[in-house]
């Protein structure tokens, strides 16, 4: 196996290995093509979801352009750079999260932003989506894999500290994504199935305690609403009922682009942000949803291929975890909009309007491209 990779990296044309201009730019053409297709399709849906507001589409276009540049920059860096910087980035990130809890700014009872003098306002928790898996991968890849139990616990501690801090802001969606990113690293590192079963049991037991002692009232409400949206059809249940109605009324072929009544008549809330997949489902029907899911699946497939073929453990763990984080975005968002999961503030990756998540996601794809294109030229 290793010999094959070395041959590939020597430029003998292994499966999907970039060559020529792509290698020089450190880009993976297949992944780039899939992402471009997703982003362009997403802008069309956004135009409809934002009720034909071209300004929204322009703003999103600019934001995605910036994100592509960020991706390009990340792709140029050698994975070894990420590995070297991981501990320092992690320390800086946790420091920033402490600062957010102390002096952060925000709205609606949540402190998420840090406004440091001389720097643009930013959201440290967003950066942690990259930094936490990097740190976990750095720590676990220092030792033989599969990790020993104590390494697993240290790795989980590395994940849980920032996760709990983000939860305190409170920002359930981001803390979930950061936590999952770290846990995927631990999983890919090879944590034993016994330990996984033990953790699952622990979560099962502690869930009621979480319900009574940790979860806030509005979070409980979201879970209850999921179970019975009709209990409060004009309040908390409104979003779910309206998004399910939008999706269901789309049928197989959909009502046509810009023809969705639910979104254009303002019944569907957040139609250009978190609930945008309902617009797609209403206007393009089951066919449109299937195409989107296939596109996402192809992206994940390509990223997992990159992970598997990566040269070292750090790169593999980081690439695998970032890929699965991308998947979690999709699953939580679509699950929420279709009424399978409680309402959590997770956008549909690369399609929902706004937020810094687009930039973070593209940075992650930059890391994946970096891993794919930076190969040690070792000849046998």
């Amino acid at each position: 196996m290793a010999a094959n990779d070395l041959v590939d990296s020597a430029g003998n044309g292994g499966l999907g290995r970039p060559r020529g201009i792509w290698a020089a730019l450190h880009l993976d053409p297949l992944l780039l093509f899939l992402l471009t297709a997703l982003v362009c399709g997403g802008l069309f849906i956004l135009y409809s979801g934002a009720d034909r507001n071209i300004d929204v589409v322009k703003a999103q276009g600019i934001r995605l352009g910036v994100a592509f540049v960020v991706m390009l920059v990340f792709a140029q860096l050698d994975p070894a750079v990420f590995r070297r910087w991981a501990p320092w980035l992690y320390i800086a990130g946790v420091g920033a999260l402490i600062a957010v809890l102390l002096v952060g700014v925000g709205a609606k009872g949540a402190q998420r932003w840090l406004a440091l003098p001389g720097l643009p306002r930013f959201q440290p928790s967003e950066i942690m989506k990259l930094v936490v898996p990097m740190m976990a991968a750095w720590y676990l890849s220092r030792h033989y894999l599969p990790p020993r139990n104590r390494h697993v616990f240290v790795g989980l501690a590395i994940v849980l500290v920032p996760m709990v801090m983000i939860m305190q802001q409170p920002d359930l969606g981001t803390s979930l994504l950061v936590g999952m990113a770290g846990i995927f690293v631990v999983f890919f590192a090879g944590i034993s199935w016994k330990l996984i079963a033990a953790f699952a049991a622990l979560v099962g037991v502690s869930a009621p305690a979480m319900w009574f002692f940790v979860m806030r009232e509005y979070q409980k409400q979201r879970v209850l609403t999921l179970l019975d949206p009709q209990s409060d059809p004009l309040g908390a249940g409104w979003n779910i009922i309206q998004s399910k109605t939008a999706i269901g009324s789309g049928g197989i072929e959909g009502k046509g682009w810009l023809q969705g009544t639910q979104s254009h008549l303002e019944f569907l809330p957040e139609s250009h942000t978190d609930f945008i997949v309902a617009v797609l489902a209403e206007e393009f029907g089951f066919i449109g949803v299937t195409v989107l899911m296939i596109l996402y699946f192809l992206i994940i497939l390509r990223c997992l291929y990159i992970s598997v073929t990566a040269q070292d453990s750090f790169s593999r763990l980081l690439a695998g975890a970032l890929t699965m984080t991308f998947f979690i975005y999709i699953f939580v968002n679509v699950g929420m909009v279709s009424g399978l999961l409680p309402v959590v503030g997770v956008p549909l990756p690369l399609i929902s309007y706004g937020g810094t998540s687009g930039v973070t996601l593209m940075a992650a794809f930059g890391v994946l491209m970096s891993i794919q294109t930076h190969r040690r030229m070792i000849t046998a």
Binding site: G190, Q242, S249, I252, L265, F286, F297, S313
Partner: protein, 634 residues
């Protein structure tokens, strides 16, 4: 070499590959699961959600029918519908009622009174999602300002609504009645479906009587609305059936003349076309502006109207119950002739008083010293009370009651005049029931000159006069002439509800008409001044109704009595005599004498109707010619 490379073993790589396969499976299962969920919603449960979606966006709205118009006999518009822009609030959709109203107050003029009315209506029971008007009659500027701020004000709408408008309101308020907002009692009574979009209902008069056909049939439209309930477009519409237009017998010119003639006084005029029973004029003075009542009158204005000493809201023509006085004498003359208690030649000596027996109370004549020898013709022309005292006693109450009933006294004989009162036609039974007393001969004496218990409305007097003009043939008074629509007039106006009054000697009609003619044109006629110099012949009878009774021998001086206690002046009559076109009853409250005050008013009306407004000039000419023949025979 970095340490990472050192331990990059095949075992670690295989471990990672296994874990990746697990994750790939997880991803595949989860994405398939999401698709399955979508399949469930979009394919299996598609119909349910399509219905939900349509229910969301499609609402059924009622479209109120435009109310039928009302025209006078010449096609002049008396009641129309005018678009009025009002700002309304739907309480269910407003967030923060006080705040919204405060904001609106910055954009529009909202008076204390508007607020008061709004809050009153907010507390009243209403249909859900029904808008409550805050202010009516918005100006263009206010509409524009509201449009700018509309997005800040959910639940606030500018509504164009057709509202009843009476262009000649002061003149027609009492004749037409008016519409007003549907109140709580009416809400119980009306058909909720047909009135789903209607805010107004006929409150009185014609508007009330013909409510059913004036209203029309409600229409519907399916409209697409957004989540805030704003209508975006109409998907399907079933138009309302507009109310049917009414054409009345009323002539606005005559109505206006009647008002002018009574201007500055209090009184009523009812003019009827004898042949058809059509009411040509129905005036009660002072009138009021009915338009104020349509959208809800302010407390201040209402108080001013209701507390005025002149009682402008009181419909004297239909509800004013007055002692008819001597205007009852023509009807009593018919009764006396037909019941054979007198003849045309029967003569009495009038000493100026009448006594039931030698030592009884003296019933005075209006003329001190009396009229001397009088027959029926003289008694009518000079309005001799003594003659009628005597025949009244001879007839007795039962006979008088029977004949007067035939003339429509004591009942509301009108076909489509809502709110008309029945007056009071006394009888033995009535007196026994009401006063627990027998009928005394003295009561008959009083009834003989239309005093005592007897009460009649101007409409009843005009009706009875019209019956004389028709020589006993009834044509019940009515306002409606024609319905411009599908509903046949007969639905509301039955052919005939009263039997004609047949006399043993039909010629008695002509005789009594001639006595009335004598009142107008005779040498001693009480209304000879009013009847002088006319190109046609008229018949009439003056009357004076006492507002309070005088003791037997008390002297009476109009000068000394405060104006409000002066007698009411009355007059009934019709013209031309042989081919009556108009019959009138005039009452001027506290006007003094009928001959001096009321008769000239009637003459003006006759002239206006017969000469000025040019009703069938040919027939007038023939009338004059026939008068000439009559003159020659006298």
């Amino acid at each position: 070499m970095p340490w990472g490379e050192f331990k990059d073993t095949a075992a670690e790589r295989r471990l990672f590959q296994r874990r990746t396969m697990v994750m790939l499976t997880l991803v595949f299962v989860c994405l398939t699961g999401l698709l399955a969920r979508m399949y469930q919603l979009q394919v299996i449960e598609h119909d349910i959600y399509t219905t939900l979606s349509d229910k969301n966006r499609v609402q059924v709205q009622s479209v109120p029918p435009p109310r039928g118009l009302i025209y006078d006999r010449n096609g002049i518009l008396l009641a129309e519908n005018r678009p009025v822009f009002s700002v309304t609030l739907v309480p269910e959709r407003v967030d923060g009622m006080d705040e919204s109203i405060a904001n609106l107050g910055n954009i529009l003029d909202v008076s204390e009174e508007d607020l008061e009315r709004f809050e009153r209506r907010l507390r009243e029971p209403r249909r859900p999602f029904q808008e409550i008007p805050l202010r009516y009659d918005l100006t263009d500027g206010e509409i524009a300002r509201l449009a700018v701020h509309r997005h800040e004000l959910p639940g606030v709408e500018v509504k164009a609504e057709l509202v009843r408008y009476y262009p000649h309101s002061e003149l027609t308020a009492h004749a037409l009645g008016f519409v007003g907002r549907i109140n709580r009692d009416e809400l119980q009574r009306i058909d909720p479906v047909n009135y789903a979009g209607t805010n107004y209902i006929g409150k009185s008069g014609i508007e009330r009587f013909y409510e059913e056909i004036l209203h029309g049939q409600v229409g519907y439209q399916h409209v697409e609305t957004n989540a805030r309930g704003r209508t975006l477009r109409v998907l399907e519409r079933e138009n309302p059936v507009p109310g049917e237009d009414l054409k009345l017998h009323l002539d606005l010119r005559l109505q206006q003349r009647a008002h002018e003639l009574l201007d500055g006084r209090r009184g009523a005029i009812v003019a009827i076309e004898p042949e058809t029973g059509g009411i040509l004029a129905l005036a009660s003075v002072p009138g009021f502006d009915a338009n104020k009542f349509v959208t809800g009158i302010s407390v201040k204005d209402y108080r001013a109207l209701s507390e005025s000493r002149d009682k402008p809201l009181f419909n004297r023509a239909l509800r004013g119950q007055y002692p008819p006085g001597s205007t009852l004498k023509p009807m009593l003359a018919i009764a006396a002739l037909d019941s054979d208690v007198t003849t045309r030649d029967y003569t009495i000596w009038d000493p100026g008083y009448f006594r039931l027996n030698e030592s009884g109370r003296r019933y005075r004549d209006w003329k001190r010293g009396g009229h001397g020898w009088v027959d029926l013709m003289d008694a009518m022309a000079e309005s001799c009370d003594i003659y009628f005292y005597e025949v009244a006693v001879k007839m007795g109450v039962d006979t008088m009651h029977s004949y007067l009933s035939h003339f429509g006294f004591g009942e509301d004989a009108a076909l489509d005049v809502s709110g008309a009162l029945s007056g009071l036609l006394p009888s033995r039974d009535w007196k026994r029931a009401m006063r627990n007393e027998p009928w005394y001969p003295g009561d008959s004496v009083n009834l003989g000159i239309g005093q005592g218990f007897m009460l009649a409305t101007p409409l009843q007097l005009a009706t009875a006069t019209s019956l004389i003009a028709n020589r006993g043939i009834w044509s019940e008074p009515r306002l409606l002439r024609d319905i411009e629509g599908d509903t046949p007039v007969e639905t509301y106006l039955p052919e005939q509800t009263h039997e004609p009054l047949k006399l043993d000697n039909p010629d008695d009609w002509e005789f009594v008409v001639r006595t009335m003619e004598e009142v107008m044109h005779g040498r001693k006629g009480t209304a000879r001044k009013a009847g002088a110099d006319s190109s046609y012949r008229m018949a009439g009878k003056t009357g004076t109704a006492q507002v309070f009774s005088l003791a037997e021998d008390e002297e009476y001086d109009a000068e000394e009595i405060r104006e409000r206690l002066r007698d009411h002046a009355l007059f009934v009559g019709f013209a031309p005599v042989d081919n009556p076109k108009i019959a009138v009853a005039v009452i001027v409250e506290n006007g003094g004498g009928g001959s001096s005050t009321a008769a000239p008013v009637a003459r003006e009306l006759f002239d206006a109707w017969l000469l000025e407004f040019g009703q069938q000039p040919e027939s007038l000419v023939s009338d004059v010619r026939s008068q000439g023949v009559n003159d020659g025979s006298e």
